[in-house]
Symmetry: C2
Subunit: 133 residues, 2 copies
DNA sequence: GCGTGATTACTCGGATACAAGATGTCCGAGTTTGAGCGG
DNA sequence: CCGCTCAAACTCGGACATCTTGTATCCGAGTAATCACGC
């Protein structure tokens, strides 16, 4: 039970974009260099973020990726869900009545984690980093 | 990012043993039938719980598995860790300074989930079920 | 009745097989920028 | 100086390869209870 590396790359890419926020888009190459990943693989991950509506891509020369309007509200959970999917981390798969007491406990615990991830935005994190610099 | 089915089987097996608590051990076959799993596969899972010290196995005819002394303190988190391992669900794997702010956020969220799973014992859950019956 | 050996029912652990998902690469197609060239 | 064309840089998306992990099966070995048999 671990988050995939792709989630790691996605979170770092978003934070990097949030700290930079230039008018020109940032190329995949530059993002990939920072994280030691192949650009083509990273582009697959960023495509998911595009489809989730957090960033947008610009084709052609001097193209790249850029934060989209409203990105200030994007939370950690949004990013994680965009990469990992939204299925909950426990499903009983047994047919012992309508509700599984075990599942209820685990989902309740999961909810506590998600609550924390939902209230943490990339924007806030980027601001706190900038203050340190 | 999901808990494995093995974790599901382990939790259900523990709960079943906790509700039963007979003097005689319960065979794998019986536990497997309840959950629609092959007995040999379930035995591999139960072996992990034995090594974790929660249950003990009895060989030979009329053998099986039995809760071990001190099982009343076993929490959900103990069982999950016995099956999934104790590695935290996020590791940065990047070398951008000593601490990764992203990792700190995710681990903080994970801690909130684990706190809930740590305070929930199989014993308490078994008691609440018995009351309903 | 009692002891002894054989049978049976069960777990244990390793080896193996299979499937799915994560990770990563390759390449062709489309798109925009910018430079070069000719008028 | 203007406009056209072409090359370069870049993303996009699908197809493919590889590796790890979860899931599951099979089988031989060991162990304990029980049964059968002979004394």
């Amino acid at each position: 039970m671990k988050y995939s590396k792709a989630t790691n790359y996605a979170l770092h890419s978003m934070l990097f974009l949030a700290v930079a926020t230039p008018e020109k888009p940032i190329g995949v190459q530059q993002l990939a260099d920072k994280q030691n990943v192949s650009p083509t693989y990273l582009s697959k991950i960023l495509t998911k973020l595009v489809k989730a509506g957090m960033i947008e891509s610009a084709s052609g020369a001097s193209g790249g990726y850029r934060l989209k309007r409203g990105w200030e509200q994007v939370s950690f959970l949004d990013i994680i869900h965009a990469i990992e999917g939204t299925t909950s981390l426990f499903e009983c798969s047994l047919d012992h009545g309508p509700e599984c007491v075990i599942q209820k406990v685990v989902l309740d615990a999961e909810d506590k984690m998600e609550r924390r991830l939902r209230e943490q935005t990339i924007y806030d994190l980027a601001q706190s980093i900038k203050n340190v610099l």
